[in-house]
Symmetry: C2
Subunit: 216 residues, 2 copies
Amino acid sequence: MHSFTEENYLKAIYHLLVRRQSATTNDIAASLGTKAASVTDMLKKLSDKKLIHYARYQGVTLTTNGESIALGIVRKHRLWECFLVEKLNFKWDEVHDMAEELEHISSAKLIDRLDEFMGCPAYDPHGDPIPNNKGQIINQQLQPALQLSKHQSGIIAGVADHSPAFLQYLEKTQLIIGETITVTDLSDYDISVSLKTTNKEMNISREVAKNILIAI
Amino acid sequence: MHSFTEENYLKAIYHLLVRRQSATTNDIAASLGTKAASVTDMLKKLSDKKLIHYARYQGVTLTTNGESIALGIVRKHRLWECFLVEKLNFKWDEVHDMAEELEHISSAKLIDRLDEFMGCPAYDPHGDPIPNNKGQIINQQLQPALQLSKHQSGIIAGVADHSPAFLQYLEKTQLIIGETITVTDLSDYDISVSLKTTNKEMNISREVAKNILIAI
DNA sequence: TATAAAATTTAGATTAGCCTAAATTTTTAA
DNA sequence: TTAAAAATTTAGGCTAATCTAAATTTTATA
């Protein structure tokens, strides 16, 4: 099959394309914690294998084949996260590193059985959609809570920041997936957003509001 | 931590020491599917890391540290096999290769949670004992069914051959872990062993009888 | 629109793990 | 007990993935 390294490159490229519509050498290096020169080497190899479209100095996109491998990795990552949270009782901020290893377990049969065991979930614990075994994935239309206008309500459906620190903050303040929030105040000169949930009212920073994603 | 390769060497050495009381360069090479020269290279490295006791031309043994790493890998392998069989409904002849990958997932917390989730099983689906999280393992006293004398009974508790072909044969003939068998005939010039189980009587070859392990 | 800055690629090395072929040591057996 | 066979190690090389430093290309800006 493909090496862990190749899989990680394809996944990083996939995420960059989804989140920023482009994947450049430097961006890939930053997201993998390697150097640009190493990325260039790997881009040549992935290009030779027809997993990416690559022209020197021009950035990359995934071929159909490359994208389907990337989606397979994403599927495994997210299904394992479901398992870790729902069956092994891990918190949503604890599972990323473990899933980062588990996503490279190769058996397709295993992942399909795991999918079944988990009841074929559509979303992982962070609200990210799980590709099915054909590589089809729900195209989420979410917006940052910061874009809600005063008195507008929405349901928390995802996060734009997956860092443990942010996830722990949300857990602590009960701003979790599925919760309905209503913006009570939002002013230009104030650095915070006021909102209420089912149980309480609170203030969050604009930075936090930017990273809480609302279903449209 | 340690590389997958190092872990695989330590595990192979552990199994050789358990099964044959010695681990030589050629044996290690054979069990890992590599060449003796490669093994020598790795033995030097493991010795430098104080994971094995190694003197040129003399074979190896594990240090306390090396053995505890090996037992950790064995623990993970066998717990994942339990999970695959009991939760994901795989057959006992299908799980080896998947467990071979899963055993390298590093998180100790994950494996302890998995242990708990599975109800802290003492044995894996093939009857092999599972080390606890302190590296303690039940020392099994088993004997090949071939050593039973005529009219003697015993309970199948393990297998000496883990190959899918052998496991499938046992499955098909219902000679599975926990089954009580009684030897009805066993003669020097006959190449087969006659026995009866709860439901039926049958003949098995001496080769098969040698690989079925009975609790003493 | 030239030129400085930023981004990217190339060149040349390094490390882990593996290999083959040759040399060495140990074991076996005549 | 010594010569042949077997086991093991050494020597020298290969590949994948990484790095730094230097060269090249693109982009931004004065």
